[in-house]
């Protein structure tokens, strides 16, 4: 995808966002509506300006294909792992989930070699990191962590 096309998409998305915000802002009692409506108007104006710039002054844009070479596999793996991690820690508890998360994601992002040694190493990593986090957060700082049934 070229920068030009991307800019079209972005401006359209932002204009749509402005539309939703504007309809919601219509219900705000005066004079509190002035500020948000002004901000929305400026946002819409700038999104429109970006559209105009992309159509008529393509030279002003950085050329090239921003998404070229993106390693979608790795990025998506991380995002999905984090989302699963979020739902799991809600039910299971922060420490146990984080331990597994560290092992699994580090393995997935590494060279994915298999062997007792590799997993032992990851296990040690998980224990050490979570030990430190536990010491810092629970013992020293007494910061509450998301509760769950395990730990």
């Amino acid at each position: 995808m070229s920068m030009r096309k991307i800019n079209y998409i972005i401006s359209t998305l932002i204009l749509a966002l402005c539309y939703f915000f504007w309809t919601d802002a219509a219900g705000i009692r005066p004079p509190a509506h002035i500020y948000p409506q002004t901000v929305i108007a400026i946002t819409a104006f700038l999104a429109f300006a970006l559209l105009i710039q992309s159509i008529f002054f393509p030279k002003a844009l950085i050329q090239g294909k921003p998404f070229e070479g993106t390693k979608y596999n790795r990025v998506l793996t991380s995002i999905i792992a984090t989302i699963i991690y979020y739902f799991a820690l809600k039910t299971i508890g922060f420490y146990v989930t984080s331990f597994f998360f560290i092992i699994i994601l580090t393995w997935l992002l590494g060279d994915r070699s298999i062997g007792l040694k590799v997993f032992a190493k990851l296990g040690v990593l998980g224990i050490v990191v979570m030990g430190l986090v536990y010491a810092a957060f629970k013992v020293f700082l007494k910061v509450p962590t998301p509760p769950g049934i395990l730990f």
Binding site: I84, A88, T91, I92, G93, V96, F100, I104, W107, L108, R112, I114, P144, G148, I149, L150
Partner: protein
């Protein structure tokens, strides 16, 4: 291929743990409802404070914490759930498990006004009230060198120039706001109300001369009494922390208004547990050491039992609704 298989296995294992954990949780819940524990409390009690660490509610809770262990034999663990003027924390408490191990601090009139102002997931019936510990009365204050010397002078001037005198508040749909509305309603005046974000901003605005007067809390002006003139205080009788200040009643205005801090549990708490909490908090509230500490932090203490609190809340909801309708501040839904 092999690698992928292992990855899949790992994920399945992980999900299984998740599922197992879920079942366990369900079991735990059942057991909990089954039979009442013999001794309550048998583990630490979490107290939800719906404001930031270091705020007035927190400082007061910290004082309670000092005496909590002695009274209940377990620790009190303060958890902050701030956001949306306390709403996030109130909602959290209303939805908490009513096993007696989660209680929370509530502020009045916040819990009355928020459900009126917008859709909320709690109202005053969502809680079982333990008791009220602080009653911080509202007052009207001006700067020391202000031209107003009495409340009457301020009222007269406001009548002469409707809308031109500014009165600083903290927040909208807050104790300050409702007190100001009540004041304007009773005196037939019209002030321009300026809702500051917090008490600190309000005090800065007053000291810097950006507002003409403030509807403030006793606790906030106590620290520098010699900088202000307090024109009147909204209590039944003269207040023990500021005995020289006339009450609104003496000045012929029938209003008493304050911000009160109470402790409450989720609605469905077992009656015997609630009774234990009430007893314990009352003991703390009457402990002379506690009272000394409260005086140090300048928060006007006033114990009120949970049942009385609830009765008064119901009355307050009515008056507040009427007042807000009169000023057309409720969204018609």
């Amino acid at each position: 291929m092999n690698k992928k298989l292992i990855a899949v296995l790992l994920i399945i294992g992980f999900l299984l743990t998740l599922g197992l954990a879920g079942c366990q949780k369900a079991e735990e819940k059942q057991q909990d409802g089954g039979k009442a524990e013999e001794t309550y409390p048998s583990k630490d009690i979490t107290v939800i404070i719906p404001f930031t660490a270091g705020g007035s509610s927190d400082v007061q809770a910290r004082i309670v914490e000092k005496y909590f262990k002695e009274e209940f034999g377990v620790n009190m663990i303060i958890t902050y759930k701030e956001g949306a003027g306390g709403e996030v924390g109130f909602t959290e408490l209303a939805k908490s498990k009513a096993d007696g191990y989660v209680i929370g601090g509530l502020n009045v009139p916040h819990i009355i006004l928020q459900p009126l102002a917008r859709e909320t997931e709690f109202n005053i019936d969502s809680f079982a009230y333990i008791g009220q510990m602080v009653n911080d009365p509202q007052l009207i204050a001006v700067l020391k060198d202000s031209k107003y010397n009495t409340l009457q002078e301020l009222i007269d001037d406001a009548k002469a120039k409707p809308g031109q005198i500014t009165l600083g508040n903290v927040g909208t749909f807050s104790g300050h706001h409702i007190a100001s509305l009540n004041f304007m309603n009773l005196t037939g005046t019209e002030f321009t109300l300026i809702p500051y974000k917090g008490a600190a901003d309000q005090i800065v605005a007053l000291q810097g001369g950006h507002v003409n007067a403030i509807m403030g809390n006793l606790n906030d002006v106590m620290r520098d009494l010699d900088k202000y003139k307090i024109l009147g205080i909204t209590t039944e009788e003269r207040h023990y922390l500021a005995p020289e200040v006339p009450t609104f009643k003496e000045l012929g205005l029938d209003m008493t208004q304050g911000i009160t801090r109470l402790f409450a549990a989720p609605k469905d708490i077992a009656p015997e547990k609630l009774a234990r909490l009430k007893e314990g908090f009352e003991n703390i509230a009457k402990n002379p050491e506690y009272l000394k500490d409260m005086e140090k932090i300048g928060q006007p203490e006033e114990w009120k039992d949970g049942e009385k609190v609830y009765d008064d809340l119901k009355k307050e909801v009515e008056t507040a609704t009427k007042l807000l309708e009169e000023y057309d501040l409720l969204d018609k839904k």
